[in-house]
Symmetry: C2
Subunit: 589 residues, 2 copies
């Protein structure tokens, strides 16, 4: 394959790029695109955003002088062409090195990457900091933020633009407008972007100008020549400027150009075997949820489902969204708004169900606390994918328990099977006294086959699944099964019939039950699929702190693990049945 | 006094208002203004924002039909006229009832108040929820959000506007433009607001129109007649509209009109005795900080101080700001940007010091985690006023420890005296490996008189202040003194010489020291001036959970306490020396 890389073979750094002709850069764009398609189809990853930004990345590195000039990629899931051009092409040409580099910018990989970034809407603020530091120092480098139209819906992006606009010095914000977020864009801003595209940037009513930016428009955002011209125009500019470029998401891959949402991010093999790779999964907590919502909606027009621009996270398919019609709202990437919006909906009698990924719920802490919990409005929030994973450090999903469980008033529930989950959902949307958050199980569906008739309005009542003695195991949510396995080992190896408890409530302690354990237990073990610090287990340890009861907490360590395989993390954190058993055994000595 | 209330005597509900003439409403405005000045000068509270919004509040209640029509006050520190007009005037006419009502909207007080609100920039999102719920139900009420120009700088406001603009139904956003935040406005948006004011709303380049809003401008925002006309124009409108009204902050009180920042919020008696009430305090941690920053800045141009529009919180006076010049940045109410901006500054070699109130640091959780901690950029964040208070439920300051201490990489420090604080500051701005947060002591200045030469680069090293046995007391930050008092009681009543420890590091455990306690201690006591859940003490309890060591954690309960006197809270939470001693004594039995 390498033999076909006529141009890329000559390009190892951005400096090499500067020797190329426009024609060679066009060939280079095709070469990069082919590499990305092949690599992403092998490993999975962000496809559409990278295909759309190839020419702009080439033009940026051709015109500007990184790393002296500083380039910040918003959310950085469009940084593959940048990685290829900045010394890391082996990660795309050599299948053995496909996994060597992260899918995001990473300063530890390259001096061309300034920040580790995977959450949206942060680039302009980060760039504003770089620019201000330059000004204090008296430096003259260009500072460039590259941000997609979808990311503009996040409040931090607005805050950044509002502040960058008054820097009175060089800051170049490149708006990569491919007219798509992950799904379709939502929000009033997007009509203005369309107006600007339709008028070749000439419309007087211009969001960016209203904030005080100088403004350039490039209709041909996938044309290297046009981009080079535009970037040359703003290079070394002495005031804040927006360069609005109109790009094509998925460019060069017809399937991705036509179905931008499905090809935003793909699983391995998606291009070879689209239907199997993209859908037709067996029953999942996602499908259980969407079936449930559709069923309730059919009977009750007050039901409304909300996603902050990540419908894929919760299995909110196009079909699902169309069926709900006006009772589905995509807020754009705007988690703060989404939570406050849900609070307002609940206050006025609707039944909002907001679906949000664990890694992103932390973007709305203040809103969970102030807009929602303080007001006790009965909105329902579903937290998806909560748990320890081998993910990139930017997308860890183990912090939602400390985040949510320490906010007053909120009821945070951890179901362990399908029946419990459905029963909790039913209670949550029926009651009107509490804001309820449910941690949707992150593993395969488990069904007890028995309807759960628990009255969840009796808060903080744990369920004793098996009554035993000596050791009590509290297996929270995803880790209830781990508790079952530990119980078996205790019986087998030590003859101990441990008590097995399903806490169900993350936000409070069943004091009556805990007190009753003192009679014939000497050790309480907590298992939680999340970070230990600030989490569930520590509360149990504190509760028993003044008694003679021993407590062992199991969960993840507070750290930004970065693409560490899950099995390895489980060993490190002592989260396998054997390792837990060993720790218990030592403690019982 | 009541005898002079010619018009207000007739107004007990908004319905009574509808019978008045414009002339009577003008008299009413004067009456309300006098009441507010007298009441706020007695109790302290928000002055300028309320004086500026009197006419608009009258006009809103005259034109619209609350509580059917729904009115949401952003941040709600301008809701006093609303409270006077909606059945709560006794809270302003009767000094005995001055403290009966909160300074914010409160649904438990009145059906005219929809949300408990005290944080900024939330109104449009909440109103969008109300409006969408109305649309699903087929209702026809008007939904109105009243938001100040200062609050527009917060990202949640943008997210709300962006979403409200596409509701395709009635939502009326009243922009209360008094050309001020708490301090001067900062950000590109404000030039557009000025352009709109200067052109009587006619400028083509219009931020609100760029988001898709219909738009009305009212130059005379303190003229009841003009406001009534404008609100009548938009009443029952079938699409999203902005009514931009130009008001005068502090209206009617010359001192407040002239010095808008000082009279935004005042202490009791400020109007009688301005210099004493407003300044000339003895040494405080605020003045220690500003002196420190100015001193460092004189030697190092990389030092830059940042405030998210709340310079008063950190004692960043006008004089201080002027001295720093370009090395001071007010970001507007934009905590998310402020944190990311600080990260960018640090990345590019500057030395940012961001000052933020405990209650507001939670508005930037994701940025603390992703933009800052994940990147380990050496920015310094000072958290002010952290601790348990008798404040309004919307402004509690006890959650910063769970929020910050459970984020990886961050180093969160709790100094107990001036020397330690200065030493920590020195270390924080000198080193370049960690993002450092310091919890500025929230009580009066304590000085040891001895320079602190600790090397804080050795993380999580606690300081043993007095070595003893049997009981070890960990007194964190503000509560170190409480630990000293408990130690005395233990000695006096039980003859126990307790070990007294100043942990200094909130974010980690000194495992070596903790392990050493096992030799001759049977109880560890933790004291923290914050909420227990997710906090410091629970980590200690968890650490010792598998051992025989008993641990008692003292701190606040997870709840939204609302204007409960601090002494009462201390008794409730067992935070007096006597109550702590009693609990220890029981535990030692």
């Amino acid at each position: 394959m390498e033999s076909t890389l006529m141009v890329l073979d000559k390009v190892n750094t951005p400096q090499d790029l500067k020797k190329l002709s426009i024609e060679e850069m066009n060939i280079l764009a095709d070469e990069i695109r082919s590499l990305i398609v092949k690599k992403v189809n092998t490993t999975g990853g962000h496809l559409g955003p990278n295909l759309g930004i190839v020419e702009a990345t080439i033009a940026l590195h051709y015109v500007f002088n990184a790393p002296k000039d500083k380039l910040v990629f918003d959310v950085s899931h469009q940084c593959y062409p940048h990685k290829i051009l900045t010394g890391r092409k082996e990660g795309f040409t050599d299948p053995a090195k496909y996994l060597k580099y992260t899918g995001y910018t990473a300063p530890e990989e390259s001096e061309y990457d300034l920040f580790k970034i995977g959450h949206t809407s942060t680039s302009v603020s980060l760039a504003a900091g770089l620019a201000k530091a330059r000004d204090l120092r008296g430096g003259d480098e260009n500072v460039i933020a590259l941000i997609g139209d979808g990311s503009l819906s996040g409040g931090e992006a607005f805050e950044g633009l509002d502040n960058a606009a008054v820097l009175n010095s060089n800051i170049i914000v490149v708006i990569n407008d491919n007219d798509m977020s992950i799904a379709e864009n939502q929000g009033g801003l997007y009509a203005n972007l369309k107006l600007l595209r339709d008028t070749n940037g000439q419309a007087e009513c211009n969001f960016f100008k209203s904030l005080g930016f100088d403004y350039y428009y490039v209709e041909e955002g996938n044309n290297v020549s046009a981009l080079v011209e535009a970037f040359n125009n703003v290079k070394d500019i002495n005031h804040p400027v927006v360069v609005h470029i109109h790009t094509l998401k998925g460019k060069g891959l017809p399937a991705a150009e036509n179905d931008k949402e499905s090809f935003h991010w793909i699983v391995p093999g998606a291009l070879d075997n689209k239907p199997a790779a993209l859908g037709n999964n067996p029953e999942s907590y996602e499908s259980i949820t969407t079936d449930y919502i559709l069923d309730k909606y059919a009977k009750d027009n007050r039901i409304i489902a909300i996603s902050p621009a990540t419908p894929g996270v919760s299995g909110f398919t196009k079909e699902f969204r169309e069926k709900l019609g006006k009772n589905y709202v995509d807020t754009g990437i705007a988690e703060q708004h989404a939570v406050a919006f849900a609070s307002g909906l609940a206050k006025n009698g609707a039944k909002p169900i907001l679906a949000i990924m664990s890694s992103f719920v932390q973007r709305a802490y203040d809103q969970l606390s102030q807009d929602l919990a303080l007001n006790n409005n009965p909105a329902v929030i579903l937290v998806y994918w909560g748990g320890i994973t081998g993910a990139d450090a930017t997308h860890l999903t183990k912090y939602d328990i400390p985040l949510i469980a320490n906010i007053p008033n909120l009821v945070y529930l951890a179901p362990v099977n399908k029946e419990e989950y459905l029963s909790m959902l039913d209670w949550a949307i029926t009651q009107d006294e509490h804001s309820v958050v449910i941690r949707v199980p992150a593993a395969g569906v488990i069904s007890s086959g028995i309807e759960d008739k628990t009255d969840y309005s009796v808060l903080n009542k744990y369920k004793v699944v098996e009554q035993g003695s000596k050791v009590a195991i509290l297996g929270l949510g995803n880790f209830f099964n781990l508790g079952e396995k530990v119980k078996i080992l205790l019986k087998k190896n030590l003859g101990i019939s441990a008590t097995l408890i399903n806490p169900r409530f993350i936000t409070g302690i069943d004091e009556e039950l805990m007190d009753s354990l003192k009679d014939n237990h000497s050790l309480v073990v907590t298992l939680e699929d999340g970070v230990l610090e600030g989490g569930f287990g520590e509360k149990i340890a504190s509760y028993f702190g003044g008694t003679g009861m021993k407590v062992l907490n199991f969960g993840a360590k507070k750290e930004f693990s970065d693409r560490v395989p899950l099995e390895e993390l489980y060993v490190k954190y002592h989260l396998t049945p054997d390792l837990i058993f060993e720790d218990i055994n030592k403690c019982l000595d």
